[in-house]
Symmetry: C2
Subunit: 439 residues, 2 copies
Amino acid sequence: MSKNKIKPSILAGFMELIPSDQILFNKMMDTIRKNYERFGFLPIDTPVIEKAEVLLAKGGGETEQQIYRFKKGDTDLALRFDLTVPLARYVAQHFSELTFPFRRYHIGKVYRGEKAQRGRFREFYQCDIDIIGNGSLDVINDAEIPSVIYSTFKDLGFDSFVIKINNRKVLNGFFKWLEIDKPLAILRAIDKIEKIGAEGVIKELENIGLEVNTIEKIMEFIGIEGTNEEKLSSLERLNINNEIFNEGVEELKLVNHYVGLFGVPRENYSIDLTIARGLDYYTGTVYETFLKDYPEIGSICSGGRYDNLAEYYTDQKLPGVGISIGLTRLFYQLSEAKLIKSEDSSLTKAIILPMENCLDRAVEIANILRNNKVNTQIYLEKAKMGKKFGFADKLNIPYAIIIGEEEIKENKYTFRNMKTGEQAMLSIEEILFNLNIKF
Amino acid sequence: MSKNKIKPSILAGFMELIPSDQILFNKMMDTIRKNYERFGFLPIDTPVIEKAEVLLAKGGGETEQQIYRFKKGDTDLALRFDLTVPLARYVAQHFSELTFPFRRYHIGKVYRGEKAQRGRFREFYQCDIDIIGNGSLDVINDAEIPSVIYSTFKDLGFDSFVIKINNRKVLNGFFKWLEIDKPLAILRAIDKIEKIGAEGVIKELENIGLEVNTIEKIMEFIGIEGTNEEKLSSLERLNINNEIFNEGVEELKLVNHYVGLFGVPRENYSIDLTIARGLDYYTGTVYETFLKDYPEIGSICSGGRYDNLAEYYTDQKLPGVGISIGLTRLFYQLSEAKLIKSEDSSLTKAIILPMENCLDRAVEIANILRNNKVNTQIYLEKAKMGKKFGFADKLNIPYAIIIGEEEIKENKYTFRNMKTGEQAMLSIEEILFNLNIKF
């Protein structure tokens, strides 16, 4: 390479795919989108760049360190680090133009300047849905969300996954009853149980300063076993005299009942009292979703219920419930687990390979296929037939149509299955039929 | 509003739509994507943030002033300002993993910190296709591109548009023959003819310092009239003894012939010798596309042929041809011209409105519709029926299914066309039939 060239490279922590993988990535994104739309969610798209003061309205924590923030002229700008803060700003700003309950989906890139490490991305797609009520939002919405998760992951090709459901009120009410005053620290400790095990959680609870007696009660509580109904009965039998706790149990019972009615099979959802979600804004139902065969991937879809979406921007009370799929990370994890197979991926269904002096007919055939909505490419360069076949092979294009003088004379064309090598001379009508186009 | 709230607002120069408009925007984007895929283009997606030195490899001009550039730690970063520079970097970086000719499409947001003014956006979607050859690329590719433009805009619902085609070699060869040495300045002057008229172009050419005699010849040349074939004959009759000119005329003839063969109707393309494209990297065929009834909108799709895509990153010679649709600006212009009608836009086909105590059946019906791929929402809040109908109306949902005790008893449900007000009691099978779902 000449010396004055710039090395073509991207920044660490950014995902970039070759087309055969990109096709699969986009298919996953399309599947997610179609499912979100099937449940009545409406699309929004917000700017990637916003005023820093808007994105940082809540402030504090990791966010402020990780955010990409910069000046252009005198303006203090930042890149969005999630889709929830822009949703809050959007709903507050467009409040009078929206119809509530407002169901929106948003699929877009977000940015976090994290330390670069394997499997962590600084730019990644989030695929979010939220249902926002004006003043109030019925808890039945919390039961519909798992059916969106189920439908989506089923369509993505997963069979063996479980949506774990809990309710923050159950945990918080229980802590209140125990007269513990650091519920958030305890929630965060419990939330790590998948990663650090029960032993680890006990250690963390000790570090928080809880007494052995209290820790035992907590561990016993989150260890309650059985079917969903058995767990609910056990909770009721504890006879905990706390309003929040009882409210939480009632909500959990209702959600458990309706999740089933919404068509989610028993094996795909489970009440799990260890699900706490580290984030402090959840106030009721919480969800996490795990692949049964790949627990090490962690939760592939999480979310929950919150009391007030946009308190930093408006006095309107806007309770909501939502979930998020981190698609970039999910795709990366599936690739690592060898569950992404791009060898067969192709958007193009047919390639036309004209022999010398047969280009005009090739163009005519391509027009017919394209007018019948068949994704079609013509090999337009001058080259030997072997090279042309090699091209079709490399791009995984399933069918080739060879056009030579013989073919033109007979008005029939060599139609070749590139996978099996089978081929036949077919009329254009027969070719369209084979490509599944009805007349 | 309480005093400690942050005003919810976005930056000037950024487009944000309400959902009914977003639905139409996304439909346009989907239509463009489907058409690009129909012609065998493969998707890529590159990071929005890249190394500043990579994006600014070419340097100079407006780019450097407009680019969003900032530091994170010690790293000098920038946001992409078009999709061409990332394509060049992508092809150079992934050269050995790609199959040439490489047909890629890329739909994504780009960023330019321009002065804010009406109709100018700092964040906007570009929808690009390019065909990149390894070493060489047949000129026949230049003839296929207009058929992609035609197919795309036809599918977008436009009838009356014209793809104007020219060839830089024709202009450059002509200038060489006139022994003029500032071809780029002249091209830029000619390029403005739609905006400033012939008079304006003459003035600009005078300012460049051309002699009256030369200016006359140029104006006569770009004023050549007639059908495409008549224009081509006129060019040949000029007897210009310049190799580049003659090459250009030959290419233009071939492109003109094949554009027709590729199925573009006569009224939708035209050779136009005033089309020059201001950008300096075009070297052959150039395109611009205009709506006949709205010329003031300017070109809605432009592009052309270039000799070497990635010279700043690699020694590989990579000629290509491509076009770009600036979707954000196009959508804005169509809205301004009242050509965007969002009153009817809905992705949701049916809404289920349960009366009191009828929720369970509503959920069951929703499951059936969703399993049959009908986008369905249930009104889940407790409210009077009038409010529920109002909700369906505001969201433009075309069909409502009302479920009361009567309906549950009869296993038939009130199916209402929300547009016409017509309604009937139908079984679930009949409802699915009316929603066009085959069993």
